[in-house]
């Protein structure tokens, strides 16, 4: 690792010298020898400009990018190889692969069309129509930033005067001004500062945590021999750009990829074997795999004896979880389960991973625990080619003393034994509608999040948000959520603000996101909005200091960086190659031999409780700490005979990239995938307009009749079907969220995007 750092510094010097001619690009090795004639040198030197190293934020991944700025305009986005997120996820490989450069996904390549989208909100807007609802025109009035902030300050001040600061609840994307929102909320006095994770991977985090004391294990795909993936599409739902790279490298080096998913997604298309499964039954399959591996004595005995807790209880539990038992539940044949188990256990190293597929049903955490436990059986946790527990950098505390808050959270997060600190959005919405919270909530602030589309149950969410007496939305677009706001503040894109990225690789790293250009409408970046509100409200810290008075975000970030293991300030981080700090120790394996952050210091097959809260099964019965298989609440019936699932694909993030013409050019519709046999029985042809109906909504969609999906399942890409947002986004495809309803997974608080069942018929 040391060698790498030296070389990188040398490279940087080189780049400084050469950036005027080469534009700071890492040249392809085979092309470097080409000589330009004097005449050509001038011709091909344009455009001149400065390259700024930063992090993407077209999705939450935050892959490293560099942006060329020419005459004050962001002109070109390219991969930043100094940031491992676009290269690979273990340091030993990074050393080798750094020279080949980084990579970027389609969304990252389309960033400038979002930055310069003429439909972005450019000025603060005040609602003049008191009535709120889907079809209702807010009758916006443009106001100044000062006016907008003053109105918000007055509203918030009312809560302070009444002594009910807890009546403020905030919602936000996870890597935008998270630190300032948490601190602002704390000093204001509300515990209800919440973030996106409980819509996304809270169930995976809970499951991984229950086993390993670490929430986000990362697969070492490049160096494995066997990848068994349940319900995750890293080659299609691209996030950190290194993922496709390391997975394809693993396959190229001889690894077998097996994908378990109701839909043969992009990852499934690269797999040697696709196992179509009934939604929400992944846990049963995993338990049966465990049964075979144990009964055929194929497990890693040494690893289990030394480093795990509860194996005997687990092995007793799976005794009757035979492949025949699982076949009835999952639809996967007992023979394939046996073959899969033997193959998996005989491949070394092998890794078993899963994300949102099994993770968005009511039995998500149990499913995911059963899946992750397979890694214990084959002994692949925290080993090369296995599922690695990353070492992550924690940025330092705030530069001031935070307060102890007395009030509980509005969303009842405490009721969830493995709840995620991001909160429980669906409970917040439910309690707003039913007025069943521990206290009333009056004010909401939503930052870079389109709750109406992202929380399952569109029409319920609209009802919930209407209950807020005062609602502020900070966003780049007049999203469907912004259309319910009392004040909309223009947001920034990632090219106009600071941020940090610390996750996605297995060794400590902090990558800087920095403004490439000034905010184009002169707007406040999101963190400055919260700092300014803190200033206007004269918030004090625990020691009575008016801490926001003179605090700039640069100083704030600088302090947090200095007080982390990086021990460098903001200016130093900016000057690091690629604006990235990496720990020279690199990826460390088998850390559990020294220290594991679980109650027993060992990996857990069994976990009865956490923080004094019993982990029961989803029907509230004693699960004896086991990853029990329980049927998910919703099952197809006569009225609603098809499972409805939804997914991400490479061209879009959540519901927020739908006004980007480059990305809409790839796919501007989300047809509903229906199996050929199912479609035939319903008299539906490919391309037909159909009705999709659940107990919560009914809407038109286009049918895609395909062999790529399980016959009992209908599925589609989510995020489409806007009626707000922008003119390009409007009216394209169908909103997948509307068919769902407000419900949380009982152990983690995860929102359930794939719980509901539907019927479909020709329109």
């Amino acid at each position: 690792m040391k060698k790498l750092f030296q070389r990188k510094l040398n490279r940087r010097k080189f780049l400084k010298l050469s950036s005027t001619v080469l534009g700071g690009a890492v040249a392809a090795a085979s092309l470097q020898n080409k000589r330009l004639s004097a005449d050509e040198k001038e011709r091909f030197s344009a455009p001149q400009g400065q390259w700024v190293y930063t992090c993407c934020h077209m999705c939450g991944g935050g892959t490293g990018i560099k942006v060329q700025v020419v005459d004050g305009i962001a002109y070109k986005i390219e991969p930043n190889p100094y940031n491992p997120l676009g290269v690979c996820n273990v340091s030993q490989d990074y050393e080798q692969e750094f020279k080949n450069g980084g990579v970027m996904c389609p969304k990252g390549n389309a960033g400038l069309m979002t930055l310069y989208d003429p439909e972005r909100v450019s000025k603060p807007l005040l609602r003049t129509n008191k009535e709120k609802g889907k079809e209702i025109d807010p009758q916006w009035k443009e106001i100044t930033w000062d006016e907008a902030l003053q109105i918000i300050t007055e509203q918030l001040n009312n809560l302070l005067k009444k002594g009910t600061p807890e009546s403020l609840v905030t919602f936000s994307e996870s890597s935008i001004a998270k630190d300032t929102q948490l601190d602002f909320g704390n000093l204001f006095g509300t515990p209800n500062i919440s973030f996106h994770t409980n819509l996304c991977s809270a169930s995976r985090k809970a499951a991984a945590f229950s086993i390993a004391g670490e929430s986000e294990p990362l697969g070492d795909y490049a160096n494995t021999k066997y990848m068994l993936i349940f319900g995750w599409n890293p080659l299609g739902a691209t996030k950190w750009a290194h993922l496709p790279k390391v997975i394809m490298k693993g396959i190229k080096n001889g690894a077998k990829l097996v994908v378990v998913d109701p839909w043969r997604n992009e990852t499934g298309n690269k797999a040697q074997q696709w196992i179509p499964i009934k939604p929400g039954t992944d846990g049963a399959l995993a338990l049966a795999l465990g049964h075979v591996i144990i009964n055929q004595k194929l497990y890693d005995k040494e690893f289990i004896d030394y480093w795990t807790h509860g194996f005997l209880v687990y092995s007793k539990y799976v005794q009757d979880k035979t492949p025949e038992w699982a076949e009835k539940i999952t639809g996967v044949s007992a023979a394939s389960i046996r073959q899969l188990a033997v193959e998996l256990a005989n491949s070394k190293p092998a890794l078993i991973d899963a994300w949102a597929g099994p993770g968005h049903h009511s039995n998500a955490v149990d499913n995911l625990r059963a899946i992750f436990i397979l890694n214990l059986l084959v002994g692949s946790l925290d080993k090369p080619g296995g599922l690695i527990l990353p070492n992550r950098i924690q940025l330092g505390n705030s530069p001031f003393k935070t307060k102890e808050l007395a009030k509980p959270r509005f969303d009842g997060l405490d009721n969830f034994p493995l709840g995620n600190s991001s909160g429980v959005y669906v409970e917040t919405m439910k309690r707003l509608i039913d007025e069943t919270g521990p206290y009333p909530v009056e004010i909401g602030i939503a930052t870079m999040t389109n709750l109406v589309f992202s929380v399952p149950g569109t029409y319920q969410v609209i009802e919930a948000l209407k209950k807020l007496k005062f609602f502020v939305v900070i966003d780049n677009y007049l999203s469907e959520t912004a259309l319910l706001a009392d004040i909309v503040l223009p947001g920034t894109t990632y090219l106009e603000r600071y941020g940090t990225v610390t996750r996605g690789v297995t060794w400590p790293m902090v990558a800087l996101r920095q403004p490439v250009i000034e905010p184009i409408f002169g707007q406040y970046p999101e963190y400055d909005i919260f700092l300014e509100l803190g200033r206007r409200l004269k918030l004090q810290d625990a020691e009575g200091n008016y801490v926001f008075e003179k605090l700039t975000y640069e100083d704030y970030l600088d302090y947090k960086l200095r007080n982390s293991i990086a021990q460098i300030g903001l200016a130093e981080l900016k000057s690091m190659p690629g604006a990235v700090w990496q720990d020279q120790g690199g990826t460390v394996y088998e850390k559990y031999k020294k220290d594991l952050k679980t109650a027993t210091g060992k990996f857990h097959f069994v976990l009865n409780s956490h923080n004094g809260k019993m982990i029961k099964d989803i029907y509230g019965e004693d699960a004896k700490g086991l990853p029990v298989y329980r049927e998910k609440f919703w099952q197809p019936d006569k009225n609603f005979p098809l499972y409805l699932i939804s997914w991400k694909q490479a061209n879009h993030t959540h519901s927020r990239t739908f006004n980007n013409p480059y990305l809409m050019g790839i796919k501007n519709n989300n047809p509903l995938y229906i199996n050929v046999a199912t479609a035939q029985s319903l008299g539906i042809n490919d391309g037909d307009i159909i009705w999709v109906e659940s107990p919560y909504s009914k809407d038109r969609a286009t049918a895609k009749v395909t062999d790529s999906i399980h016959p009992q399942v209908a599925g589609w890409q989510w995020g489409y079907g806007h009626w707000g947002f922008g003119n390009l986004a409007k009216g394209k495809g169908t909103n997948a969220s509307q068919f769902n309803f407000l419900q949380a997974e009982p152990i983690s608080g995860q929102a359930l995007h794939k719980e509901v069942c539907v019927k479909i018929y020709k329109a």
Binding site: L22, G23, L31, P47, M104, P106, N109, A241, N651, S708
Partner: protein, 252 residues
């Protein structure tokens, strides 16, 4: 394999009849004279696309748009998809399609003004200043790799990024009405302007599956030369005798 490939050829849109039409219309110019004498260079650029590595994400499609500022309807690079087999054996495969930079390019033969030519380094280029926008080459190309710039923009008026010039072929092209490349035919040029600087084409650089390799096959020890010599590479619509400089390995 062969049968599969034949299916693609049908699927690609332009038929041999289209090509014959182009041939019929072409002004008889000696093809050899269209080789650019000025680009004296011993390089021979080639692209190798490994379909087993392509994940079909379209990062290349958009990287290209960003690099070359192509407007709506102008696509230098697309990714074709082929779906085969019945449930549960179903599988979808991808085929990225840039310009093939043929050794015997049908498009060059039909250009009445000599605006498009085969350079000695293997790249088929278009001289925007010469192109009269007749679009004979569009029909002549058996791969559908060329498109016509009608002067549209994604935003009306174009946004700040769309207004910035592109630097294709090492020249500045501002996007203004009546000026090239508006009303010209446009296509992939292997990012000549980047290659000249020693940087890979944008599609190659961005590829997350590491499916693309670009290089000079005349250069000893180049990665591309080594792989072509080892692997069973194939060309799209090989039977037409166009001899593309884009080679594929893996199954479509």
């Amino acid at each position: 394999m062969d049968e599969n490939r034949r299916k693609i050829f049908l699927g690609l849109g332009l038929t041999a009849a289209g090509m014959a039409f182009g041939e019929f219309l072409r002004v008889s110019l000696d093809e050899d004279k269209k080789i650019d004498e000025n680009s004296a260079n011993e390089s021979q650029y080639c692209m190798l696309i490994n379909l087993d590595q392509c994940i079909g994400c379209n990062a290349c499609t958009i990287a290209c748009k960003q690099e070359n500022h192509t407007p709506p309807g102008v696509q230098y690079n697309i990714v074709l998809k082929k779906r085969t087999d019945r449930y549960p054996q179903f599988i979808e495969r991808n085929l990225p399609r840039p310009c093939m930079h043929c050794e015997k390019p049908p498009c060059v033969k039909v250009c009445p003004v000599g605006a498009t030519k085969k350079r000695k380094d293997g790249i088929v280029d278009i001289d925007y200043n010469k192109c009269i926008g007749c679009r004979y080459c569009l029909t002549a190309c058996p791969y559908g790799a060329r498109s016509y710039d009608f002067g549209e923009n994604y935003n009306n008026p174009p946004n700040k990024f769309e207004k910035t010039p592109s630097f294709e072929y090492g020249q500045e092209w501002s996007r203004e009405k009546g000026k090239s490349p508006i009303n010209n035919v446009r296509k992939c040029h292997f990012c000549l302007h980047r290659v000249k600087k020693g940087i890979e084409p944008a599609c190659v650089q961005t590829c997350m599956g590491m499916a693309r390799i670009f290089g000079d096959i005349n250069e000893k020890n180049s990665e591309i030369a080594a792989i072509i010599s080892q692997k069973n590479a194939w060309r799209l619509k090989d039977e037409l005798g166009t001899i593309p400089s884009v080679l594929y390995i893996g199954k479509y």
